[in-house]
Subunit: 296 residues, 2 copies
């Protein structure tokens, strides 16, 4: 939608301090992807990366080694950390970083306050909380998530512009992102869920699950922690008709349409595999078409 | 002196915060040089450097661009800044960094407190103070230094171990370093000059000037700021017989020996060009030999 003014509200619950630097994986993935700097195959980090800094840190015995920061990526975190240290809020820092990348959207963090998603796991019979990145990247979600807690969310305020963007939107889309640790964390910031529910615009979501499995990542692991089945219809019902007006499922999940509509949510089955830019654009068009249907 | 226990007290007045990171050029040069990681031709920074981070920072429009930090070097500053942020004093951080580099000496910062050497210059008729690195690296000492001020020195305390090392030393050497912004800054930390003057050990210095010119760097520029001529004998007299017992000048400055000895400082003329490790070792041996002479 080249003519649209698009605001992306990004999850910051995945943010982590590494080596004393503030790393915002979700914001950076949006910024690098839309700005043309992403490592395409990997889906995160910068293209053409080198790893001199990481190797040196390892030579100093300074970890964690399981988080793959490249040299180019380090520069982003250095600039961000310097600006935060100088007193700028994350939203202003993100705007400054985007001045270089020109992602073509206004990228807002969900909040300028610190929110950190922790995952409760069982370690030898003891319940322990680990940072989401430790669960996701280091443990590769190989153990059950007992609970997912966006620590600090209850005291966080939406970043400047977030509530206005929601209230003034023509259409609100929930991307096929993780419903618990990505979209769910954003909705956990007081005021955002309420703003989406109250927004006059139609709200349409895209299922991150296709054929009962997450297309990317390990969403099923954290869905279990909140008692939601790993199906396209269960995720739609998890969001609920209070929040979303429309829902797209993949064509392989066409038999889920009826169950979603029973819950009061308009539902269509369309191809939902982001195999290339054309397929992705078709998904966006289908979401906008459904938004117009439910608006009418 | 492989059997000697050597303590190096390093100048930290050249330290600078760049990109939110604490950079200690003098400590790192000692650590990298003695630890086998220095860029030999350049005399500072790491061998085999790449510059991905610096290029990215420039792409963000974040400077200064005149300070050449390589990717490997960045890792050192990241570790240091993280440890300082966690509350460790610079002396503990330096020890931790040296655990990797094993320089073969105990490297101590002159102080754990912040001291920053500023240089007063004339800019269009206005007196302005710039950070020493800005004067040295950016301006290449191309304008006169009106004054050199180690800001914060008067309130600084010697780092743990510094005074004990001086008081307990068998020999104290002043290397052929800048007498104003390197050795002078160390002596400006209250207690250090007094400890050197009171130390029972002989104190021997090596002239950084050969034939009236600095061997390396632009020492003449800052000597002028403190009213000292750029000659080997003037620097010896600047330190004074209160502080040093012996002084080495280069063979080309043999005619300075008498003038230095007149000031009550034993003086010898020996080759003082550090052309290779053998020449450097011969200088150290000559300094130790002079120390034994003055001790007797």
């Amino acid at each position: 939608m080249p003519d649209a003014e698009i605001t992306v509200v990004g999850n910051t619950g995945d943010d982590i301090h590494l080596f004393g630097l503030k790393v915002c994986p979700d914001l950076d993935t949006v910024m690098y992807t839309l700005g043309g700097g992403i490592h395409e195959e990997q889906g995160w980090g910068r293209e053409g990366e080198t790893f001199a800094v990481k190797e040196e840190l390892a030579a100093y015995g300074v970890g964690p080694e399981w988080f793959g920061l490249g040299d180019r990526d380090f520069a982003t975190h250095i600039v961000r950390t310097q600006m935060l240290g100088a007193g700028y809020p994350l939203s202003a820092v993100t705007e400054a970083l985007c001045a270089r990348w020109k992602p073509g959207v206004r990228l807002l963090p969900m909040t300028d306050d610190r929110v950190e998603t922790h995952v409760a796991i069982d370690v030898d019979g003891e319940r322990r909380a680990v940072h989401f990145q430790e669960y996701w990247v280091k443990l590769r979600a190989s153990v059950d998530a007992l609970a997912v807690v966006p620590v600090g969310a209850e005291a966080a305020k939406p970043a400047p512009g977030v509530l206005d963007a929601i209230a003034g939107a023509d259409v609100i889309l929930f991307p096929p992102s993780n419903p618990v640790v990505s979209v769910g964390t954003i909705l956990a910031v007081p005021g955002i869920r309420e703003a989406v529910a109250a927004a006059p615009a139609p709200v349409v979501g895209l299922s991150p699950l296709v054929g009962g499995a997450p297309v990317r990542g390990m969403a099923d692991k954290v869905l279990a922690a909140v008692g939601v089945e790993s199906t396209a219809q269960a995720v739609a019902r998890h969001y609920g008709a209070d929040l979303i007006d429309g829902w797209l499922v993949d064509t392989v999940d066409a038999d889920a349409v009826a169950a979603v509509e029973e819950a009061g949510i308009a539902c269509r089955a369309v191809p939902l595999m982001m195999t290339d830019e054309d397929a992705t654009a078709a998904m966006a068009r289908a979401a906008l078409a459904l938004a117009e249907e439910v608006r009418a």
